[in-house]
Symmetry: C2
Subunit: 363 residues, 2 copies
């Protein structure tokens, strides 16, 4: 059997810095645990644009389709702000999501005990928080046609189309229910069925899929109320299921509850490939953070935990994923902190690479 | 000169209860301050459906177009969940917004000193918070065509259209900049210009309008980051300008920061009428709260403060609005609390009508 393959796309800003730490971790698993991966690397986002005038070259897209998992750092930055919409760094990421058909985006929002004080929310509201947002990732207003800026009468009109088919809703819903079965057995689905017909269809299909999971408690919430409840009492949730656009906003909101955006990973999963593994891309929830890029300040943990998700969801190495997550918790409990995690207590921050080394030591 | 006219639409759930308190306040201003209004009342939402099989009768719509201000309580409730989309209670409210062309929805998120402990956020993050969300209210995905659930191949597809013309963006933007001039002179505009062309046009038009207000600092933020920043450090904002759908979610998120949804008013303003007053509808941000309806538990303050906004924006009675707001602050400082405002300290809650009376006593 060949080694499982990983394509690394560090991307822009702090992407390459945090990914360097993940490479060390991958090497550690090869040396110490006999888990060897074939790792290749390529460009995405602004870095790809600089070379190819495209945020994702066709060859890179083809490679991403072949590997067992893609690890992505981050895309975008002010240097690319003036670019035409069609070649913006973000389009590279969206092309990967769409062409790999990664319909289920898993975004855990977990509050690490050692960091509970770090949230802007009161400690008792967030301590022990562990929710999973399942965001549909290949459809909705991100991809619907018609779209664009058109002339009408004597002015321009900006148009985007929210569009969901029954089967698109169904497969995202199914992945949320499957996850809930292995967690707290609750799914809360969020849409705006009171004002959008796409939300009505969403609610109907989710309700139907829910019938296949009688053990899972299903509730529905309007997305505006969902945002409110996330801030008011986030621990009421287990799995939150929502569409691409609401998921974008609600998952950032949930992420910030934990107070540590530099900590949060994500997995974007598609249908099983021939070898039984799902198409998969793993990336930190944080962005390219251009303000601190190149300074060795970035927190590599979100990217490291994204690799832990890869171990779990792509490589069937749940125990090794647990090991890696436990190492991260230990490092945090020991008080090791990158600059983003510093409360004002005179703790000295460690660098990106010192944090990576600390995790390896803890492994 | 005839008295200024007000149409009261109590609506559903706690709507009638909180509106009864506003009627007392209106009477007080007539008796004690010589501010007399011609007040009429009609049905909206489920209450209108029960009588007319429509969430807003044509006669009511016509009346709303003629009066100087509409005060609305709340619409919706589980009794109407099974209704067809076209006659849902919410459609009554949306019809008012659309046909009165109320393009600028002002949603202050203010943290009252006496209630700062009540937020799920840490006190220093929210104490003194005073931001104003300006939400475009007549366009976007709420109203764009095509929309509906169609058959395609052998499945159904839910479709909604996000659609913004330059002039729609411009007038909403202008109202945000005008407000900022009278406040902290900062506007932050939120969209998803990185993934939606309608967001690109939004950003471009807002930037152009901003040139007419050189004193106002303008910034742009992606809406997902906006949700995050609202939770992380909400005091960085003064006026937030955003579209109908993002505004729905972000304003609920902002409202919850203050910890007191029962406290927050809103104004929805349109173009000036012949008498120079803007078309206007005022309503609390909270909904119909069916779980506590009819029990005398609801907090009438959001609805009372909505009337204060009417005094300010429709009736040019800024000083009287200040007086009413000060009375509310005094009542809160005195420790008067409806059930929604109770921390767990053994304070006895007052009823809806006791709260209304307390405000009148403080006036
Ligand atoms: C970078 C951007 C295109 C992306 C999105 O909007 O989906 C990001 O915000 C995310 O949530 O992954
Ligand atoms: C009741 C509903 C139609 C409404 C909306 O979505 O606009 C409400 O959530 C609001 O924010 O005023």
């Amino acid at each position: 059997m060949p080694n499982p393959s990983i394509l690394i796309l560090p991307g822009d800003g702090i992407g390459p810095e945090v990914m360097a730490e993940v490479r060390k971790i991958i090497a550690w698993f090869g040396d110490k645990r006999g888990l060897r991966f074939d790792v290749s690397e390529d460009l995405v986002g602004g870095a790809a644009y600089d070379k190819h005038r495209l945020p994702l070259a066709d060859e890179t897209m083809a490679k991403a389709q072949e590997v067992d998992a893609v690890l992505l750092g981050a895309v975008g930055g002010p240097a690319y702000d003036g670019l035409d919409f069609s070649v913006k760094p973000e389009r590279g990421l969206l092309r990967l999501r769409k062409e790999m058909d990664l319909y289920s985006n898993l975004r855990p929002a977990q509050c690490f005990d050692a960091l509970a004080d770090f949230s802007s929310l009161k400690k008792d509201i967030v301590a022990g928080l562990d929710i999973m947002i399942v965001r549909e990732l290949t459809s909705g207003v991100y991809f619907g046609e018609p779209r664009g800026i058109i002339e009408e009468g004597n002015e321009r009109v900006g148009i985007n189309t929210q569009r969901y088919t029954e089967s698109e809703i169904e497969r995202a819903a199914r992945s949320a229910f499957e996850l809930a079965m292995r967690r707290g057995k609750k799914v809360c689905s969020m849409e705006k069925a009171n004002v959008m017909e796409s939300g009505i269809l969403w609610r109907e299909v989710v309700t139907r899929v829910g019938k296949d999971y009688p053990e899972v408690g299903l509730s529905h919430m309007y997305a505006d109320n969902g945002a409110m409840q996330l801030v008011r009492a986030p621990k009421q949730f287990d799995v939150i299921l929502t569409d691409n656009l609401f998921g974008d906003i609600l998952s950032d909101c949930a992420a910030m509850l934990t107070g540590s955006l530099g900590m949060l990973p994500s997995a974007s999963l598609g249908a099983p490939m021939e070898n039984g593994r799902p198409k998969a891309l793993y990336e930190p929830v944080h962005g390219s953070a251009p303000d601190i890029a190149g300074q060795g300040k970035a927190n590599p943990i979100a990217c490291i935990l994204s690799f832990a998700m890869a171990l779990r969801y792509s490589f069937d190495q749940g125990a090794e994923a647990d090991r890696l997550e436990a190492a991260v918790e230990k490092v945090l409990a020991d008080g090791v902190r990158t600059a983003d995690l510093l409360a004002s207590e005179g703790v000295e921050p460690v660098s990106t690479s010192q944090m990576g080394d600390a995790v390896i030591t803890a492994l």
